[in-house]
C-alpha cells in the first residue's frame, strides 16, 4: 500500500483490502433494532404508534452533572455551552407522564426481555443472571430524563462470518429516544412518540477489515434478528452506528447511518478523514506547532467590515451581529487541506461552530486561505494588520450574535489546537453523500450509573432453557435446508429470513402439499396481503394446513390457491369448508369455461390491433379470473389457443 508514503488517499473504488490493512483500518458496529412488542419498555404506552399530531409541548433544559473527578464530562460541557432550549412535542395517545420524566418507571416489559434474551442466545452470548437497569447519560435532549434506561442481557458472543468469527461484545436492551424535528439556533425540537419503545443494541468487536465487510456484517446481523419474527421492520426500526479507526487515529462513532448499502462509502470517508487529519498533524508538528506551542489571537473586528459587500456578513450586521476574527499562528494552508471527499479541514471548524455556538446559517466562517469569493483583499489586509498576522498565519472570521461569536472564537481555537494532536474523539453524523459531520464530543465510558428507580431482575435458568429449546434455526442453515427441498435460491433466501418460516415447516409437515407451492404462497402471496394491509392472522397455522391439505388432496386446483387465500384473508363470512367447496371443480366450471371461451373468441376482435401474444395474455387473465382457478391454467390455455385468431406473435 502506498498510503503511508503517498499523501493522497486512493479513490473509493481503487482501495483494496491490503490498502485498508496498511492503514490499520478497524471497524465495528452498533446495531439498534426495535422489538415487536405491544407496549413500551418502561411504561404501558402503546409501542409503534407514530403520529404527526401534537397535543402539547413541554420545554426543558439539560444540566451537566459533575463526573467522577469533579469535572464536567466533555460532552456534557459541550451540550451546556450550547444552552439549548429543548422542546418536546407530545400526543396523549402515545406518551404518558413516564416518558416526559414526570413519573418513575413501571416494571420492565417482560415480553421485551424475552425477545432480547432470545436474540442474545442466537448470538452465542454469555447470559447474565440478573439484569441491572443503568442510566446512560444523553444531554442532547433526545431523552427527557437526560439518560437512557438500558440493561445488559449478555456479553462476549460471536457469529460466523466468511470462515472466521465476528465478536459480539454485548447485547443491551434499552428504550428508544425521541425523533428530532428541528434544530435551529438555540432551540431543538423533538417528537416523543418513539420515545421509550424497546430496542436492542448489539455491539460488535472491531473485527471488520474493509468498509464492505462492515455492510455485510450489518446485513447478517439484521437477517439474524429478523429470523425471530419478533422485531419491528420498516423505516427507522433498525439503525446502525459505525465505529471506525485507523492506526494513529481515534475510535470515531458515526451515528444515523441511513441504510446498510451506504455504509461502505461512509466508512471509507471516515478512514480517509482520519488519514488526512494525521497528515495535518504531521504537517503542523513539522512546522513546530504542537498543543503546547499553539498560538492564536481573538478579536471582534466588526468595524473593519462595516462596508463589506459579502452577503452573509452584511445580513448578520443588519441583524445587529458582530464579526469575530481568530488568528491561527502558522496555520497557513491548513484549512484548505482535504479531509473527506470534496471536504476540507475548514469544514471541521464550521461544523463545531454550528453545533456548539449554534451559528447555523451556512457559510458560518470565512478563512484567509479560501479561494471562494468573500471580503476584499483590502479588508483582509486591514484585519491582518489589526491582528499582526504574518504570511504563515491564517485568519478565520465568524459572525453572528456577540455571545455566540465569543463561543465560536473559543471553539475555533479549540478545534485548531486539536489538529496538532490528530483525530479528536467525536460522535459524527452520517450525511447522504457518504461524508460525515461533527455531532458531539464522544462521551466517556463514565456516563453510566445505576437506575435507582428499578429493581434488579433475575434472568432465570428456566426461561433461558425454554428460549434455547425454541430458538429459530439460523437463517443460513435454514436457507440451505430450503434449497435442499428444491426451492429456488431467491425464494429460499426470502423464506429463510421471513417470520413465516416456522409456518412453512409446520404446514408442510401437516399437509404434505407441494413444497414450492407453499413456499411461493408464503413469500409472494402473504407479502402482497401484508402490503394491502390485510390481517394475516386470519391465515393461521390451522387454516393454512386445511387449505394446503385440500390442494394436496386435489380438492381444488393449484390455480385457485390465490383466490382461496384472498377469500379467507379478506374475511369471507362462511366456514372454511364452504369457501374451499366454492373453489372445487363440480362440473359446472366446464360449462362456464365453454361460455368464457366463446366470450373470448368474440372479445378478441375488439383487441385485434394488438399482437397475438398480448391478446392471449389479456384473455387468459380474463378467463382465469372469472373461473377463479377452478380449471387448470394449462387446460384454459389450450382451449384459448383454439379460438385465437391470427398467426405469429
Amino acid at each position: 500500500m502506498t498510503a503511508s508514503q503517498d499523501s493522497r488517499f486512493k479513490p473509493f473504488k481503487k482501495m483494496t483490502p491490503e490498502d485498508y490493512a496498511a492503514i490499520g483500518f478497524k471497524s465495528g458496529l452498533e446495531i439498534h433494532q426495535q422489538l415487536l412488542t405491544e407496549r413500551k419498555l418502561f411504561c404501558r404506552c402503546p409501542a409503534g404508534l407514530y403520529t404527526e399530531e401534537v397535543d402539547a409541548e413541554i420545554l426543558r433544559h439539560m444540566r451537566p452533572t459533575l463526573s467522577e473527578l469533579g469535572e464536567y464530562d466533555g460532552t456534557a460541557l459541550m451540550e451546556f455551552k450550547t444552552k439549548k432550549e429543548i422542546v418536546y412535542l407530545l400526543k396523549n395517545e402515545s406518551v404518558c407522564t413516564y416518558e416526559m420524566d414526570d413519573a418513575p418507571p413501571f416494571e420492565i416489559d417482560p415480553k421485551a426481555v424475552e425477545i432480547a434474551a432470545e436474540i442474545a442466545l442466537l448470538l452465542n452470548l454469555n447470559m447474565v443472571s440478573e439484569l441491572h437497569i443503568a442510566r446512560k447519560q444523553y444531554l442532547d435532549g433526545s431523552i427527557p430524563t437526560g439518560f437512557q434506561r438500558t440493561t445488559i442481557i449478555g456479553v462476549d458472543g460471536s457469529i460466523p462470518f466468511k470462515g472466521r468469527s465476528i465478536g459480539i461484545r454485548q447485547l443491551g436492551l434499552e428504550e428508544d429516544s425521541c425523533r428530532e424535528v428541528s434544530d435551529v439556533g438555540h432551540r431543538i425540537t423533538f417528537k416523543t412518540d418513539r420515545l421509550g419503545m424497546p430496542l436492542i443494541e448489539t455491539v460488535t468487536e472491531p473485527d471488520m477489515r474493509t468498509p464492505q465487510e462492515v455492510a455485510e456484517v450489518a446485513e447478517v446481523l439484521r437477517r439474524l434478528v429478523r429470523a425471530t419474527g419478533k422485531v419491528r421492520t420498516g423505516a427507522g426500526a433498525g439503525r446502525e452506528d459505525v465505529n471506525v479507526s485507523i492506526t494513529g487515529g481515534t475510535r470515531i462513532e458515526i451515528k444515523g447511518v441511513p441504510s446498510i448499502r451506504r455504509i461502505p462509502r461512509l466508512v471509507y470517508n471516515e478512514a480517509m478523514r482520519q488519514y488526512n487529519l494525521l497528515r495535518i498533524k504531521e504537517e503542523l508538528n513539522s512546522r513546530g506547532i504542537t498543543s503546547e506551542t499553539f498560538q492564536c489571537e481573538k478579536a471582534v473586528i466588526t468595524n473593519l467590515l462595516d462596508k463589506t459587500t459579502y452577503l452573509p456578513i452584511v445580513h448578520s450586521l443588519e441583524r445587529g451581529g458582530v464579526v469575530g476574527a481568530v488568528l491561527l499562528k502558522g496555520y497557513q494552508g491548513i484549512l484548505a487541506h482535504p479531509t473527506q471527499e470534496h471536504t476540507y479541514f475548514s469544514q471541521e471548524i464550521s461544523d463545531r461552530i454550528k453545533v456548539i455556538a449554534c451559528i447555523m446559517d451556512q457559510p458560518n466562517i470565512l478563512h484567509s486561505d479560501s479561494t471562494e469569493p468573500g471580503i476584499s483583499r483590502g479588508q483582509w489586509n486591514r484585519i491582518r494588520q489589526r491582528l499582526n498576522a504574518g504570511n504563515d498565519d491564517t485568519i478565520v472570521l465568524v459572525w453572528g450574535d456577540l455571545q455566540d461569536v465569543n463561543t465560536a472564537m473559543e471553539e475555533i481555537a479549540i478545534r485548531a489546537r486539536e489538529a496538532t494532536e490528530g483525530v479528536p474523539p467525536e460522535t459524527r453524523q452520517a450525511f447522504r453523500d457518504g461524508t460525515n459531520g461533527f455531532e458531539r464530543i464522544l462521551p466517556g465510558p463514565d456516563r453510566m450509573y445505576p437506575d435507582t428507580d428499578s429493581p434488579p431482575l433475575a434472568l432465570k435458568d428456566e426461561v433461558i432453557e425454554r428460549l434455547r429449546r425454541n430458538l429459530p434455526e439460523m437463517p443460513w442453515d435454514r436457507q440451505a435446508r430450503l434449497r435442499g427441498l428444491g426451492i429456488d435460491e431467491r425464494t429460499a433466501c426470502l423464506l429463510a429470513h421471513s417470520p413465516h418460516c416456522v409456518l412453512f415447516d409446520n404446514v408442510l409437515k401437516a399437509s404434505a402439499c407441494e413444497v414450492r407451492l407453499l413456499a411461493n404462497a408464503l413469500v409472494r402471496d402473504l407479502r402482497c396481503f401484508k402490503r394491502l394491509g390485510l390481517p394475516l392472522e386470519r391465515l393461521d397455522e390451522s387454516t393454512m394446513t386445511r387449505i394446503f391439505s385440500a390442494v394436496a388432496n386435489g380438492m381444488f386446483q393449484k390455480d385457485a390457491l390465490w383466490h382461496v387465500l384472498t377469500a379467507v384473508v379478506k374475511g369471507e363470512v362462511r366456514p372454511l369448508d364452504e369457501i374451499l367447496a366454492a373453489f372445487s371443480p363440480n362440473g359446472g366450471e366446464k360449462v362456464e369455461l365453454d361460455i368464457l371461451i366463446k366470450e373470448a373468441a368474440d372479445l378478441q376482435f375488439r383487441l385485434i390491433n394488438s399482437a397475438k401474444s398480448s391478446r392471449r395474455n389479456y384473455l387468459m387473465g380474463y378467463i382465469m379470473k372469472k373461473l377463479r382457478g377452478r380449471v387448470a391454467a394449462q387446460t384454459v390455455a389450450a382451449r384459448l389457443e383454439e379460438v385465437l385468431q391470427g398467426d405469429g406473435e
Binding site: 409541548e57 452533572t65 459533575l66 456534557a76 407522564t97 447474565v128 456516563r447 433475575a458
Partner: protein
C-alpha cells in the same frame, strides 16, 4: 484494611459465601468463570433490599450485571479499585454588595454529584460544593449553609420543626436577608405550615425548596428550584413562609405558595405543589418576581420575629370513610390523644355510628375539629342536619384549614394550652392565611384535561 462489613458490603447468604470462598471482596476486579460463560468486572456493593443470591459486577462498558452465586465456578482477582467519595469544593465567591442568605439543610439532597463507578449519589451541601454544581448562585447572593439534620422528609417531626424554627429565628436576629430551607418534598407542606405558625412576623422571606427529580439527573428540577428559591430569599419583598417549586412541568417558572395553603398534589410531577382555595403569592422567573397577591407581609429591616416553637404531638388526623367504626376514635381516646382532626366528607360530615364516640371524646376533653377531605372549600356544618348534630357533640368546624395544616396547627396550639376555649381561639384565629375570609373564584381551578378548549389553552400557555 477494610473491616468485614465493608469487604462484603450488602452481601448476605450464598452471595457472601461465594465471595468468601473465592477470596474476593467488594471493589475486587475479577475474572469470573460461570456456567453461563466468562465475565470480567469490578465487584460492587449489593443493595440491602435485593436478594442474597446474586453478585454484582460493573463490566468495562460501565454496565452492571448480576451473576448468580451458584453459577460461579471460579473468581480470580486481577485488580482492586475502591471508590473514592469526595466532592470538589470551590470557594463560594463573596461580594459585599450582594445580600446574605442562609440555607438550612434538613436531609434531602438539593445538589449532588454522582460517583459513576458505584452509582452512588453524593450530596453537595457546603457553599463550596453547591457553588461547584450550581455556580449561578454566586450571581444572586452570598450564601451560607448549615446542615441541621439528615432525615428523609417523611421522618420530619415536631423535634425538627422546633429546631428549624429556632434556627430561623436566630438567622433573622443575625441579620440574614433571607432564609432557604432544603427539604424533601413529601412533607414539605407540613413543615411549611409548622414554620408559618412557629415563626410569625418574620421580617424576611423564608423559602422552602426541594426537588421532584433527583439532582444527579441532567433533567433535574433541583438547580432551577434552588436558583429561584435563593433569588426569592435574597431579593423578594415577601416576608412570609413560602414553598418555591415548579409552576408547570416545563422549565419555565416557579410559583411561590403560602406555607399554610400549599399541598403536594401529585406523587411524581415536578409541578406537584399547588395553592388550594386561593391563588399563589407570586411567580419567579429569570430574576423577576411577579406577585399575584397584594395582601402579604412586606420585608422589614428590624431583625425581629416572634418565635413560638412548641408542639404537642398527641394529635391525629382521621380520614373519614363510609362504614368507619367507632373503634378508630376509641383507640385514639384510649391511647391518650389530645386532639383529633377529622377530614370529613363534603361540607364536613361523618356517619351516625360515630356520633356517640365523638361525644365521648369531646366530653373527655379531646379537641375535635372538622376539616374537609375535598381539600378545596370551607367546612359548613349548618347546611345539613348531620353537621348540626356533630357540632352539638362538640366537634368544631375549622373553616378552610387544610387537614394537614389543621393537624399542625392543633399540635402547635396544644403546645401552648390545653384549655378548650384558648385552643379554639388559637385554632380559629387566622395566622398567615391558614384560614381565609373568602375563597376567590379562581382559588379552585382544576381544569379537566381532554376538553378541547382546555387542551388548546394548555398547549398555548404551558409550553
Amino acid at each position: 484494611m477494610a473491616n468485614n462489613d465493608d469487604k462484603y458490603k450488602g452481601y448476605r447468604g450464598p452471595g457472601k459465601a461465594k465471595l468468601v470462598e473465592q477470596g474476593v471482596e467488594v471493589w475486587s476486579d475479577v475474572e469470573a468463570k460461570t456456567t453461563r460463560g466468562n465475565f470480567r468486572g469490578i465487584i460492587l456493593p449489593r443493595s440491602e433490599t435485593a436478594d442474597d443470591i446474586h453478585i454484582v459486577l460493573k463490566i468495562a462498558s460501565g454496565y452492571n450485571v448480576g451473576l448468580r452465586a451458584d453459577t460461579v465456578l471460579e473468581m480470580k482477582q486481577v485488580g482492586y479499585r475502591a471508590a473514592n467519595y469526595k466532592i470538589p469544593e470551590k470557594a463560594f465567591p463573596f461580594d459585599p454588595k450582594k445580600p446574605k442568605v442562609k440555607l438550612f439543610g434538613t436531609g434531602g439532597t438539593i445538589a449532588s454529584r454522582l460517583d459513576y463507578r458505584t452509582g452512588a449519589v453524593i450530596p453537595a451541601f457546603s457553599p463550596g460544593e453547591l457553588y461547584g454544581s450550581v455556580p449561578e448562585l454566586a450571581d444572586i447572593c452570598n450564601l451560607e449553609t448549615e446542615k441541621l439534620f439528615g432525615v428523609f422528609s417523611e421522618n420530619m417531626g415536631p423535634e425538627q420543626y422546633i429546631t428549624l424554627a429556632k434556627n430561623i429565628g436566630k438567622a433573622i436576629e443575625e441579620g440574614y436577608q433571607g432564609v432557604v430551607i432544603g427539604h424533601g418534598t413529601d412533607t414539605m407542606h407540613h413543615t411549611a405550615a409548622a414554620l408559618s405558625f412557629m415563626v410569625q412576623n418574620s421580617p424576611i422571606p423564608i423559602v422552602m425548596v426541594g426537588s421532584q427529580r433527583s439532582s444527579d439527573r441532567p433533567s433535574s428540577d433541583a438547580a432551577r428550584n434552588l436558583i429561584h428559591s435563593v433569588y426569592t430569599a435574597a431579593h423578594s419583598d415577601i416576608a412570609e413562609v413560602m414553598v418555591c417549586m415548579f409552576g408547570p412541568t416545563s422549565d419555565q417558572y416557579n410559583l411561590l405558595h403560602r406555607g399554610t395553603r400549599v399541598r403536594k398534589m401529585h406523587s411524581s410531577y415536578r409541578s406537584t405543589f399547588r395553592t388550594l382555595s386561593d391563588i399563589p403569592l407570586a411567580r419567579v422567573q429569570n430574576g423577576k418576581i411577579e406577585t399575584f397577591q397584594k395582601d402579604y407581609r412586606r420585608r422589614r429591616f428590624d431583625c425581629k420575629a416572634d418565635v413560638k416553637a412548641v408542639f404537642d404531638d398527641r394529635v391525629a388526623i382521621v380520614y373519614y370513610y363510609p362504614n368507619m367504626k367507632p373503634d378508630i376514635i376509641e383507640s385514639l381516646i384510649d391511647n391518650g390523644y389530645k386532639g383529633i382532626i377529622i377530614a370529613g366528607t363534603g361540607l364536613g360530615h361523618v356517619n351516625k355510628p360515630l356520633y356517640s364516640v365523638l361525644g365521648r371524646a369531646t366530653q373527655m376533653g379531646l379537641h375535635v375539629y372538622m376539616t374537609v377531605q375535598t381539600m378545596y372549600g370551607f367546612v359548613q356544618m349548618y347546611v345539613y342536619e348531620t353537621g348540626r348534630e356533630l357540632m352539638q357533640l362538640g366537634v368544631i368546624p375549622a373553616a378552610n384549614l387544610l387537614p394537614e395544616v389543621a393537624y399542625i396547627k392543633l399540635g402547635w396550639a396544644l403546645g401552648q394550652s390545653q384549655d378548650q376555649e384558648e385552643v379554639k381561639k388559637i385554632m380559629l384565629t387566622p395566622i398567615s392565611h391558614d384560614i381565609t375570609e373568602r375563597e376567590p373564584y379562581n382559588g379552585y381551578q382544576i381544569l379537566q384535561g381532554g376538553i378541547p378548549e382546555v387542551d388548546e389553552m394548555m398547549s398555548r400557555l404551558w409550553k
